[in-house]
Amino acid sequence: MSYCVNCGVKLAESEKSCPLCHCPVVNPMDSECSPEKLEHPYPKRRDTIKNIIDRKFIISVMSIIYLLPIVICIAVDTLLRGRMTWSVISTVSVVLCWVIVFLPYLLDKELAMFYTSIDLIVLVGLFFSIAWYVGNYRWVWGIAIPTAILAYVIINVTVYGVSRGFLHNLYTGAFVLGATGIFCVILEVLIWNYIRRFLDPARNFEYWSAYVFISCIIIAGLLCYIERKKTLKRGLEKRFHI
């Protein structure tokens, strides 16, 4: 029988450390009593709970619901036209929705890079199915794919930065804003390049993205500055707290 020197409580013989403060029990008189023989108030056996079944059930029910529009579209399309035409687009769109919504839920793990990669692949597939239907592939290579890849890179760099601790608090916001600014500039270049090559060779660069870029950079700079100056941050919190 021992007492915890910290808490002043008497400890049951099975306790090797105080459950209240984790202070180890040292009792030189207790040496003849081996710990294996002591009756512990609880056994080692643990209750396990099955969680997987539920998740799989929900996924399968929802997948069936997702399959319905695909089946209906393909049936209607092939009945009317004799082969698959626009139903390819609707099929790929539904698959894209499923991949975005249910894949992370199904795997239940934090794999941002993996999920976004799959999303990107299916998205590119959607671009090609639309291009195939309208018979024009130029916009896919010229605008759609570069834009999607750019968004993919920005999202993954942000997630990586946050998970590794490079980005935190206001810096995260500043980074996302800066990336948005750059995204807009590249988008305008891509669109302008596409219009000049295929539609209107005399088209001028309009610089609309410059306004977005400059305002994003200014706000991002401000956020970084506020984050660095702790006293300023506190002052702002004081005056603008909600």
Binding site: C4, C7, G8, V9, K10, L11, A12, S14, E15, K16, S17, C18, P19, L20, C21, H22, P35, E39, H40, P41, Y42, P43, K44, R45, R46, D47, T48, I49, K50, N51, D54, R55
Partner: protein, 444 residues
């Protein structure tokens, strides 16, 4: 039909008029129990546990016989909760429950295929028999009647004569319909709507454990000394413990020194059976949310004792309780609400539970009181335990039961840090009450 039940055959009729005085095939879930299946998740459900520790080693065969007989006698607990289209319902099961070995993490959610489908289980470890019950079936008092009956029946199987049945059921009798009644529904006569004005309470922070982990810390106190201390302050044991607990939680918040102090509220379930002379074994408790608001100023321990004492006095009179119960029942009687499908009700109840239910109290302290058993059983029983399962919202909860001179306090914790029970038991030690501690912490 009751004869049928005894012989183990299936009951057939379900005409409400005919079966009014008999055990029915299914029951509406108690008014107070409706929240439990609605808020259950795939890995969590409200489960609690009462256990008895005998003085001698357990004879498993005799205990199994006793369990089967007790399950027959108490169909309120020997049942399962099922989904209907509009409401959940409860159906007594005419099967044989099976004893299970005990575990290190008690009160985990029961799976549908476990223990023949029953929503309770009986677990044996050493000299201890533990009954874990899904809260939708019964409250602490109801489950405790089952456990005491099981203990008595087991001792009878071992040849011990128990002539009187105070506080327990006789397994040779038939189940009585009064044991199955929905107390809230039966005793609500008034239609007063009282608005809930409670604010969000102080929340005990900590590192959340995975859902299948639970920490149990048990403190064993000498009953007479606690009673003496409580008498000195003219308090009951519940008021005394609640007062100390509230003070300890209040001090924890003071030490944290948050920018915005929240009221420290303890949820105290009160057994309503004595007030309405009810024999029900199902849910019939009323939750008193007692506590203090630190924004009103600094509180001393004696001020908190007084606050809780008068709050109890104020809340526990029949008229006040009538009004509260009526409020609880009125929603259930609303014809429009009744025809809303169950799944939508679940979402609404989950929402309510999250934002007005459990967030309105800091912790629960549930006191079953002193175990009331026939004197012949005293010599064979060492102690009783009462334990709450992990709560979905509050991180630390506490349950108390007394037997002879052992007052057993079980803390259930879903976070790593034991700072709440440490502060509580140290406070008791400081007041000169000796405390013995045991736990379910693992030994290397």
């Amino acid at each position: 039909m009751i004869g049928d039940l005894k012989n183990g055959t299936v009951i057939e009729i379900d005409d409400i008029n005919k079966t009014e005085n008999k055990i029915k095939k299914w029951y509406r879930l108690d008014n107070a129990a409706k929240i439990y299946p609605a808020t259950a998740t795939s890995v969590w459900a409200a489960v609690f546990r009462v256990s008895v520790t005998f003085k001698d080693e357990i004879d498993m065969e005799k205990l199994q016989i006793a369990l089967e007989r007790t399950a027959k006698r108490a169909p309120a607990i020997a049942a399962r909760v099922r989904k209907g289209f509009f409401w959940y319902y409860m159906e007594p099961l005419d099967k044989k429950p099976v004893l299970q070995p005990d575990v290190q993490n008690p009160c985990m959610k029961m799976s549908a295929d476990e223990n023949e489908g029953f929503n309770f289980r009986v677990r044996v470890y050493g000299k201890r028999v533990a009954l874990e019950v899904y809260h939708a079936l019964a409250d602490g008092t109801g489950a405790f009647i089952f456990l005491k009956t099981l203990a008595a029946e087991y001792l009878k199987q071992k040849g011990i004569n128990i002539p009187e049945y105070n506080g327990i059921l006789n397994c040779d009798d038939q189940p009585e319909p009064e044991e199955m009644e929905d107390g809230h529904n039966k005793f609500s006569q008034f239609r007063i709507n009282e608005k809930r004005t409670d604010k969000r309470a102080y929340y005990l922070k900590g590192t959340k454990e995975p859902f299948d982990e639970v920490h149990i810390t048990t403190g064993i106190l000498p009953c007479d000394q606690v009673k003496k201390r409580a008498r000195e302050k003219k308090l009951t044991i519940t008021e005394y413990l609640a007062g100390i607990y509230c003070y300890v939680l209040y001090k924890i918040q003071e030490d944290e020194n948050p920018r915005r102090k929240r009221p420290v509220i303890i949820s105290l379930p009160v057994n309503l059976r004595p007030y309405y002379n009810s024999k029900t074994m199902r849910n019939f408790a009323y939750f008193i949310n007692a506590g203090i608001n630190p924004n009103y100023g600094d509180f001393t321990q004696d001020e908190i004792f007084e606050e809780i004492h008068y709050f109890f006095k104020h809340s526990l009179n029949e008229k006040y309780l009538n009004a509260k119960i009526s409020k609880n029942v009125s929603a259930e009687r609303n014809p429009i609400l009744r025809i809303v499908p169950r799944s939508i009700k679940d979402v609404a109840m989950n929402f309510t539970y999250k934002f007005v239910g459990d967030s309105r109290n800091t912790s629960t302290l549930s006191n079953l009181g002193l175990a009331d058993i026939p004197g012949e059983m005293n010599d064979h029983i060492d102690r009783f335990d009462f334990m709450l399962g992990r709560s979905r919202f509050t991180n630390v909860n506490c349950a108390v039961v007394g037997f002879q001179n052992k007052l057993v306090i079980n803390f259930t914790r879903g976070i790593k840090e034991p700072y709440v029970e440490r502060a509580f038991f140290r406070e008791l030690v400081k007041r000169g009450i000796p405390v013995e501690i045991e736990s379910n912490q693992e030994v290397e």
